[in-house]
């Protein structure tokens, strides 16, 4: 695959206009030769197809964890002119505001931490609803759900499920502006009501980690991360609410694509002008789901704090949120393009915001450092904390990678080690796994993913986010 693309540097490659017909900008891929060995032709084609969409600015971008997705590749970033461009549900994904948060604790991991980790993971597994067919302990009524879709994580904090500091450490303070619940269907509401405070399944997880290495002392101190401390990472999104909103609006947007005469090379790229009724309706519903997702992660954080405090004897507020990022979203942001300040609708589909120092939306104490960026590893592999950079603001619409990215299918993964074997193997390496199904463990086998360390090396070397700390897993919950 790599022979068809032009090398710009060791970590940056280009697909020229003409790679696919009707591209109006080139595509750029941040990738190493090692990772490019597993780059699928389908993902490159999808990336080039995005470059044909109306109003696209600068480049269609792919992060090193890029792989074949729905419409846009996973790991794709694209900025569209807010006046003349489009918005596309396929550029966000089914799991709207799927994201990650990291919580630090004051507890130092001892050399014999495993028995306590097992207790912690077992208790968390029975407290945080996980996997298919689970409902949250708190069943919302329609009014509460509507408020959550408007207020996001703030609703949870105001109702006793967190503290005000949590909100300062969320992207957008845990609430995206522009939510319009009138465009959220009854079906989506029916799915959203019982699921706020549930983890889900697949690649979603809850992990207990140890801060294994600090690469940037100054930034780590600002972010509140200390070596050897136990941390908790949560990865999940907007659950059935977001899935249903995507399903509903894909249908509407598909009709709108035809109505507005937009030529798309692939149905999955169905899109509507940002300023059209259909585009505005999707954005309003998407923002409502994004807010629900922040509330979902906030509720899980509350449960985690209660369980952790019970087992380790810490205080609720001693568990501090480092940051919460969303990696499936479309947002309006401003960038300097050809010397002019422009409002851009940035689609991040499996990509993380990586705002540099002095960017808007950073909490006061982090303005000089940049935004914390959270990159989860796959099961059994390290996760990373990075910081956003000015280079990301210039090159990638303030974006970086979001995880490891799959290299092979679930089918192939299941042909390898069984779930039970993987579980035992990980336990020998000091990682305790609890899952609702051995099938999920087999499908999520560490080998099915790109190396998180290599993905992070590429974004670091490209300068679009810089390493701050590395975390090793001690216990994992999989849905």
């Amino acid at each position: 695959m790599i022979d068809k693309i032009n090398k710009i540097s060791d970590v940056e490659w280009e697909l020229k206009e003409g790679f696919m017909p009707n591209m109006s900008v080139p595509a750029r891929i941040y990738i190493s030769e090692l990772l490019a060995q597993t780059l699928e032709e389908g993902a490159a084609t999808q990336l080039a197809n995005v470059a044909t969409l109306p109003g696209i600015l600068k480049y269609s971008l792919a992060m090193p964890d890029v792989h074949w997705g729905y419409g846009f590749p996973i790991g794709g970033v694209a900025g569209f002119d807010a006046d003349t461009g489009i918005i596309s549900p396929g550029g966000v994904g089914f799991d709207i505001n799927c994201g990650v948060r990291l919580i630090t604790t004051p507890v130092k991991a001892s050399s014999n931490e495993m028995p306590k980790i097992k207790r912690l993971i077992t208790e968390l597994f029975h407290t945080v609803p996980t996997g298919v067919g689970t409902h949250a302990e708190k069943k919302l009524n329609e009014k509460e759900l509507d408020d959550i879709m408007n207020e996001g994580a703030g609703w949870m904090v105001n109702n006793g499920y967190g503290n005000p500091h949590d909100l300062i450490r969320c992207e957008d303070n845990g609430c995206m502006k522009g939510a319009d619940t009138a465009f959220v269907s009854k079906k989506a509401i029916a799915r959203g009501i019982p699921q706020c405070g549930t983890l889900g399944s697949g690649n979603h997880f809850l992990e207990v980690q140890k801060t294994a290495e600090i690469m940037d002392e100054e930034a780590a101190a600002k972010f509140g991360v200390e070596k050897d401390n136990l941390c908790i990472m949560i990865h999940c999104g907007s659950r059935g609410l977001g899935h249903q909103v995507c399903t509903d609006h894909l249908k509407e947007i598909e009709a709108a694509t035809k109505k507005y005469g937009i030529n798309i090379p692939d149905n999955q790229l169905a899109c509507a002008p940002i300023k059209s009724d259909e585009g505005k309706a999707y954005f309003g519903a998407m923002a409502a789901c994004a807010n629900y997702a922040w509330a979902n992660r906030q509720m899980i954080t509350h449960m985690v704090r209660e369980v952790f405090c019970k087992i380790y004897g810490t205080e609720y507020d001693e568990l501090k949120l480092v940051y919460d990022v969303c990696h499936n979203v479309a947002k309006f942001e401003e960038y300097e393009i050809d010397g002019r300040r422009k409002k851009v609708c940035v689609h991040r589909k499996g990509a993380t915001r990586s705002f540099g120092p002095n960017s808007p939306d950073l909490p006061g104490d982090l303005v000089s450092v940049g935004q914390p960026v959270l990159i989860p590893g796959s099961m059994g592999t390290p996760s990373y904390l990075l910081k956003g950079t000015a280079a990301a603001m210039e090159k990638t619409f303030g974006s970086t990678c979001h995880g490891s990215g799959r290299v092979f299918s679930r089918t192939k993964a299941k042909e390898g080690m069984s779930g039970q074997e993987i579980k035992e193997d990980l336990e020998k390496r000091g990682i305790f796994v609890k899952a609702t199904s051995n099938k999920v463990i087999a499908e999520e086998a560490p080998d099915a993913y790109k190396s998180s360390s290599e993905v992070v090396r590429v974004v670091h070397d490209a300068g679009i986010s810089l390493k701050v700390a590395r975390f090793e897993p001690l216990g994992v919950i999989k849905g």
Binding site: Y70, F125, P129, T134, G479
Partner: protein, 169 residues
């Protein structure tokens, strides 16, 4: 007829086949259920629980005092779906089943669709989800709207209807 899992990096890709559009639709539904639950086979539904080496967490939505060994309650539901083409009808039908399974907490085991033009009525069979019995599976986020084209294939033993479907997980 049949369904078969093909290789796809991120999601589940299935090739589904039937002797009639109705059979293609019910096979596509079976493919979807096979992702969602480990034990969803129609023959298995209604039997006692099996040890599948899985673990159940908390707050499963349907275990209202029941347990894996109790007699399963068979549930029958009716759904109606309308669309603008047969291919889109297949997608909308699967999306509707996904919705029913999630909201009513059902493990669906069989579907009998009746198609008229671009609309259908279907009887859907299943039972309440009991994690100890049905095992954990993978939640499906949505049905991909692209690449789903219903093909008519002529083979020695007759005509088949075939579609390849991506389930986003």
């Amino acid at each position: 007829m049949s369904f078969e899992e093909l290789d796809h990096t991120a999601d589940y890709l299935f090739r589904c086949r039937g002797r009639s559009p109705e059979e293609l639709f019910s096979e596509s539904a079976r493919a979807m259920f096979s992702i969602m639950f480990e034990n969803n086979d129609a023959n298995n539904v209604g039997n006692n629980g099996t040890d599948n080496g899985t673990d159940s967490g908390s707050n499963n939505c349907s275990n209202n005092g029941s347990n894996a060994d109790s007699d399963a309650v068979r549930v029958k539901k009716e759904i109606e779906v309308e669309s603008d083409s047969l291919s889109n009808l297949l997608i909308d039908f699967l999306s509707e089943l996904l919705f029913v399974a999630e909201v009513d907490c059902l493990v669906l085991s069989g579907v009998k669709p009746k198609i008229t033009g671009n609309s259908l009525k279907a009887e859907v069979f299943g039972e309440p989800f009991v994690p100890e019995k049905h095992g954990g599976g993978t939640e499906i986020k949505g049905i991909s709207r692209s690449g789903v084209e219903i093909e008519e294939i002529s083979e020695d033993d007759g005509i088949y209807y075939q579609a390849e479907i991506i389930f986003d997980v």
